[in-house]
Amino acid sequence: MKLFLVALCAGVLATNAVAQPSTADAIAKYREMIAEGNPAELYEAKGESIWKKADGPKNASLEKCDLGLGAGVVKGAYAQMPRYFADTDRVQDVESRLMTCMETLQGFNAAEIAKTPFRRGKKGDLEAVATYIAGLSKGMPVNVVPKHPKEKEIMELGRRAFFMQGGPYDFSCATCHGAEDQRIRLQDLPNITTAEGASKGWTTWPAYRVGNGQMWPMQHRLNDCYRQQRWPEPIYGSEVTVALSYFMANLSNGATMATPGIKR
């Protein structure tokens, strides 16, 4: 069972000449089975109730939060993020946008939320809300194309960040995600430099991870990538994380959102 789970790759089952087909088939069947009852649904339900509940020093809900389609519009919003927001004058992904809304609407301190460990306290709440929001874009096409100058800029920043080598292992994102049909151990790696590969990643997070029973939005996923790259820690919601998300979302443009996902 352990090997089975190890083999179960992150939303990607690219045909691989070296992979044992019987294992891959079994994994595909397993994923189909668990997708029927993705525990992410619990987080979506939790996120919806947090979205609607009055909370914080200002005792307000998040229902007036503008995710880019107008105050309170959730359906389809995730598929069009990250995007430029005039009120903050920057490009934001869903998680950095929610920090803004929790601060401005509810009176929470965004910097404190950023510092809170994953899955705890208000960050845990935020992650559930992000899962709820992502779920309401399921089946919709990604629509992330740079128009605003800051969107054009962040796309280029994201591209550079993707290829930047650093740390004691000389790793960049491209080291693992820059070519077709590659694996780390038994785990297939999407080639994020292509539309197909980028969308395999982008359209399936937030995801429930069966192996550790945790719900991970994209910020947590990127954080763990950088840990394994032997880099210092990316700050939650920081520009590099939004830039990388923008890069992946733009390359995935037109692909269908399959959120929330389920992974090994």
Partner: protein, 214 residues
């Protein structure tokens, strides 16, 4: 042992579609500013890890890295990396393949969740097939199954075996000495593995008694 250049080729195709000129100084400054505000030190993973050396700089530009114009630069960097290789102080290239197998299996070390005093692994199986008995292996690097046997190494101490033995040591110590933008980490140069660990990994690959060469 040359790493795939297809990575870079694909990347190059993609980058060709990107908008601003790659060498835009304003964008360079903007990128540096982004890095400064986006990362913080955690555990042993300190911010100086974002300071790139020349090799990392060149290889971070997927177009430039494989360009014809950069060929002299690549050669220069390979020479510089080769000069960093520390040859075994006791003249002994091969240690114990059993220890080498353990090191090759371990993917630990140097993340912010690792302790400073913990022994680092070699991460070898993450990217390479090595002993065929281990079916959980990665494919970013080439297969190393029968590494010594395929290269005709029957006695690693013989004069005939020296070119292969020395190349392998150099490749593990500093992979960029032979291919400036190889995906393989520089195990010795970056302090990932120490001399005795590299001797053990060498034995795994080159000892005629190692399971790799059966």
């Amino acid at each position: 042992m040359m790493m795939k250049t297809t990575t870079m080729l694909l990347a190059g195709l993609l980058a060709g579609c990107a908008m601003p000129a790659a060498n835009d100084a304003k964008m360079d400054a903007r990128f540096d500013a982004m890095l400064k505000t986006s990362f913080e030190a955690k555990g042993i993973a300190t911010l100086d890890r974002l300071q790139q050396d020349e090799t990392q700089k060149l290889c971070s530009d997927p177009v430039q890295a494989v360009s014809k114009e950069a060929a002299p630069m690549r050669a220069k960097l390979e020479k510089k990396n080769l000069e960093t290789v520390k040859w075994p102080s006791n003249g002994k290239y091969l240690g114990d393949w059993k220890e080498g197998e353990k090191i090759a299996q371990s993917g630990r070390g140097m993340t912010w969740s690792d302790k400073a005093d913990a022994a680092n692994g070699g991460n070898c199986y993450n990217c390479h097939m090595i002993d065929k008995a281990e079916i959980s292996f990665g494919t970013i690097g080439p297969s190393l199954w029968n590494y010594g046997k395929l290269r005709g190494v029957t006695d690693p101490t013989s004069a005939a075996a020296q070119p292969v033995v020395q190349y392998t040591w150099g490749k593990i110590w500093n992979a960029k000495a032979y291919n400036a933008c190889s995906n393989m980490p520089r195990a010795g140069h970056m302090g990932i593995l120490n001399e005795s660990q590299i001797q053990d990994v060498m034995a795994l690959l080159l000892d005629p008694k190692s399971p790799v060469n059966q």
